[in-house]
């Protein structure tokens, strides 16, 4: 089990990147904690409890609610497409684009589409699929995947963006953020006008009203689903909540947890295509419901709650590990604590076995999760389910034996501590033994910090001396 050491080392050594990650996540983190403080939102903890209950209930009865959603979408004149895999979802879009002669496709921000590499698939078939969220657009130009669930280009500075725009769009090098936004706006406005299909994700799907709920700050999602003639919303099946009236709980939590906003700038509730007499809106409306591994998680009652996630990224912003290693050192598009929890469940624990172990289990993530996912608890379960490293099995086997033999334990502790403490850099550390081999724990410890000198006497001895003294009195 080894983490991608060199890549992580590079991230840690890049002072500018470290500053960007730490400052930006720190700003989100502080804004969030102000927005949910007892003074600002006294009902915050009740909202969390309610949100967790609603999501859990929906997951527990997902089969019922999915069919209810489909019936409601049909009644509104839209259509539900069931996609078992990312390929199936992409194939549907490709087929429709071909049928309708739609060569330009505008897309708003959607982690689900990132997850199934939708853009790459569409572009591979020579469709002009364009990200319209500013951060996502920058990343698309740069050929990168999102660094963060909510703020995809959180790792980039305005200087990076100036370089990318100059190279990819042929515009003059300009580091003024407002000018950069205007450049993107000019390019994207043309795409909106040309696009035959607009693709969005969904923050929530409402089973009783057959509606898609999309929250955003830039207005690009609203344009994506209203300007083109066809709107396709791609969403994982776990995005469901039962009723329109449940939505308020989540809108109260999502913006605040993500960025500290009481509400994002735009909240759209889209329920079907344009009706007779309506002036705008798409002519066709589809919801692609994606499984892509979700039913596998659903079947696992103990870890099912992982699917409650509403992708607010509060866990990333508060995670001291994410704030050091950033988003791209995680193996999948989902980074941070939630990435650590769902990646092994979607992709298999064998693929990146180090992932659930790359946590100090500090629990800061669970504290800020608006739907109360027990992130550290699930990490512990994943560690337990992992295929054990034979070396660790030997070490813990020996440890377990020793810990049941107090006399041996106290002797070993005495010897071990005097070795470690007195001679961390001295002669004993030059004698080869497992702990100070290049891959040994002592070497790893000393690579980053010193080993504190142990007390002159173990507590056990002090205790005996104390008792002897007391008896003499």
């Amino acid at each position: 089990m080894s983490a991608p050491d060199p890549a992580i080392r590079t991230t840690l050594a890049d002072a500018n990147l470290q500053l960007a990650i730490y400052t930006n996540t720190g700003r989100f983190k502080d804004n969030r904690s102000k927005a949910v403080s007892p003074e600002t939102l006294p009902e915050y903890q009740d909202l969390r409890t309610r949100a967790a209950e609603i999501k859990q209930h929906t997951l527990d009865f997902l089969d019922v609610y999915l069919l209810q959603l489909e019936a409601a979408v049909n009644a509104n004149g839209g259509k539900v497409i069931w996609a078992q895999t990312g390929e199936e979802a992409a194939d549907f879009v490709l087929q429709l684009a071909k049928e309708k002669g739609a060569n330009v496709i505008v897309k708003s921000k959607s982690m689900t589409s990132e997850e199934i590499h939708l853009n790459e698939r569409l572009i591979h078939h020579e469709l002009d699929a364009v990200e319209t969220d500013l951060g996502e657009y920058i990343l698309q130009l740069a050929g990168q995947r999102p660094y963060h669930i909510v703020a995809p280009a959180i790792h980039m500075t305005r200087h990076d963006v100036a370089d990318i725009f100059e190279e990819k769009l042929g515009v003059a090098h300009d580091t003024v953020i407002e000018n950069q936004a205007m450049t993107a706006r000019r390019v994207l406005r043309e795409k909106f006008l040309q696009a035959g299909i607009g693709i969005t994700g969904a923050n929530f799907l409402l089973a009783d009203s057959g509606a898609v709920v999309i929250v955003e700050n830039e207005g690009n999602a609203r344009l994506s689903h209203s300007a083109p003639k066809i709107h396709i919303a791609i969403a994982g099946i776990e995005k469901l909540i039962p009723r329109m009236r449940d939505l308020a709980v989540f809108l109260d939590l999502l913006g605040r947890s993500a960025s500290g906003q009481p509400l994002t700038s735009y909240t759209s509730i889209v329920s079907g295509p344009r009706r007779a007499g309506e002036l705008d809106g798409p002519e066709e409306f589809y919801i692609v419901l994606l499984d892509a591994g979700r039913t596998k998680l659903l079947a696992d009652v103990e870890k099912r709650e992982s699917l409650r996630c509403i992708r607010c990224a509060a866990c990333l912003n508060t995670c001291p590990v994410y704030r050091k290693i950033g988003g791209h050192n995680y193996p999948w598009v989902y980074s941070g604590p939630i990435g650590k929890v769902i990646t092994p469940q979607f992709k298999g624990n064998e693929k990146d076995p180090w992932l659930p172990f790359a946590s100090s289990l500090c629990g800061a993530c669970a504290e800020v999760c608006p739907v109360k996912i027990d992130l550290p608890g699930i990490l512990l379960k994943l560690r337990h389910e992992a295929k054990p490293d034979p070396k660790d099995t030997r070490v813990f086997g020996l440890w377990s034996w020793l810990m049941r033999r107090p006399a041996m334990y106290s002797l070993a502790a005495k010897i071990g501590l005097s070795w470690l403490g007195r001679q961390p850099n001295g002669w004993l550390n030059k004698v080869p033994w497992p702990a100070n081999s290049p891959s040994g724990p002592l070497t790893a410890w000393l690579s980053e910090r010193d080993f504190p000198a142990p007390p002159p006497k173990p507590f056990r001895e002090l205790w005996v001396e104390r008792k002897v003294k007391e008896r003499k009195k």
Binding site: K324, S360, A364, F396, S400, E448, R449, F459, W463, R466
Partner: protein
């Protein structure tokens, strides 16, 4: 800790048969190796009236995770149920049960408090250690920026992911330095070891002490 408890009028006993709460193996996923060690803990302590633990992390292991470890073992589960209400983290016990007026510690230093993650989040001990520190004569308590952020120890994490753990510790060290404190206080020896090692590597002359040491001090 013994000094403090005796000053408060308690009869303190140390059972030399004790070893470990089993958390290192449990947190690494090795339940089969952890279980007999936890059972050993139950053997040693089951008949004790009150068990006081000088570590938030160990306390939390016993109080919150033993039940999971023995989920399929009714006999030991019953022992866990019986012992859990008698297990206390040190500061938690003092604040809930002790007559603190019997204690008159003096610690004439500028101190900052580091929240140990498991004490803070699993035992909800945010105020208890601070209230105790505020009772200490001549002690100046200064809060650091991000006191609640992990020091980066995390058990085997500290050596399996040494570079991340070290980076986390250095951020914590920066927060500590900004306060101008001469002493850092915490509830867990593992955080203390991590911070002491990182401060020493950085060449900073700041003392790391357990809360019990402060409360026992009469300097």
């Amino acid at each position: 800790m013994v000094d403090v408890l005796e000053q408060l009028g308690y009869e303190v006993e140390f059972r030399p048969a004790q070893t470990c709460c089993a958390q290192p193996a449990f947190n690494s996923g090795f339940h089969d190796q952890a279980r007999p060690v936890a059972e050993h803990f139950l053997d040693v302590f089951s008949d004790a009236e009150t068990i006081i633990v000088p570590s938030g992390s160990c306390t939390s292991m016993i109080k919150h995770h033993y039940a999971e470890l023995f989920a399929n073992d009714p006999k030991n589960l019953a022992r866990v149920d019986s012992i859990v209400p008698r297990v206390w983290e040190f500061s938690q016990f003092l604040l809930n049960s002790a007559d603190l007026d019997k204690l008159s510690p003096r610690f004439p230093h500028k101190v900052t408090y580091h929240d140990s993650c498991h004490a803070l989040r699993e035992l909800k001990l945010k105020d208890a250690p601070r209230l105790l520190l505020k009772r200490v004569q001549d002690l100046e308590l200064v809060e650091m920026e991000a006191a609640e952020e992990c020091c980066g120890f995390g058990g085997t994490f500290s050596v399996k992911f040494a570079q991340i753990s070290g980076a986390m510790a250095r951020t914590k060290v920066d927060s500590i330095l900004q306060t101008g404190a001469t002493h850092v206080v915490s509830l867990d020896s593992s955080c203390l070891m991590q911070l002491r090692g990182a401060l020493s590597r950085g060449g900073h002359n700041i003392e790391i002490v357990h809360l019990a040491e402060v409360l026992a001090s009469r300097k």
